[in-house]
């Protein structure tokens, strides 16, 4: 069984948006890492992760996201997340992701506040 993510990079002024299609699980690690590296190589300073609203995120996906947060911290980049459901906002708060990444309700709100 194979799970993949398609991740499109979009530049919105100083914000590099990673538009993530598909569920975020342990299988997402190579796809998210490659997308992050591409953004970093392009000199991204502000990174916005956008997910689809009704996706499945499991503990493996949380670990992958935290590894991305670790890289943004190392590289002094600002990171935000948008698109997630209220349930995953709660989960991200429980595990502490919200201490390192601001969660935005919409892309427009994120772009406005991260610019």
């Amino acid at each position: 069984m194979q799970y993949t993510n398609e991740i499109k990079l979009e530049q919105h002024g100083p914000v590099t948006l990673l538009d993530i299609q598909g569920d975020i699980t342990g299988f997402s690690e190579p796809f998210l890492n490659e997308a992050y590296k591409n953004a970093d190589n392009q000199g991204a300073s502000n990174i916005l992760l956008k997910t689809e609203r009704d996706i499945y995120i499991n503990s493996g996906g949380i670990a992958v996201l935290i590894q991305i947060l670790a890289q943004t911290k190392q590289n002094n980049q600002l990171i935000g997340i948008t698109g997630i459901s209220d349930h995953f906002k709660k989960i991200f708060s429980m595990v502490g992701i919200t201490r390192f990444a601001k969660i935005y309700d919409t892309v427009d709100e994120a772009l406005e506040k991260m610019t």
């Binding site: 499991n58 503990s59 949380i62 670790a70 459901s85 349930h87 595990v95």
Partner: protein, 147 residues
Amino acid sequence: MITNLNPPAVEVTLCNQLGYERIAMECSASFAKIFGCPADRIEDLKTVVAEAALNAMEHGNQGRANAKVTIFMDFKDDIINVAVIDEGNGIREFPPKPDITRIIDNIDPPNGFGLFLIKQLTDQVEFARRTDGGHVVKMGIKISRTD
């Protein structure tokens, strides 16, 4: 696995295939909806069922393709009870609560989130060896919990 299956109980058996936890997750959501479980508690239930099934596949059954994971669900006194059964010997040592600051600073490995979420989102949880072999995680979710 379960000897008696009296209404309203449901039993789902999965092959040991990562990704199939979604089947258990969706079954649990369908089961909870029958009893009027609110949407936020259904999301909690889906997460804990998926995480317990994942743990069963990866750690309990150690990825063995011919092993099974059985999920048993029942409803009584406003509580959805779920038992996730694998063929392993149980958890030898519980991981500490994940500390995201230490993980981000590469001091700790990024694991332990599954058990952490199970403990956070359930109203009761118990881990036990089964007398007839295998290991079970028993979880209770009150459908009326509001926090």
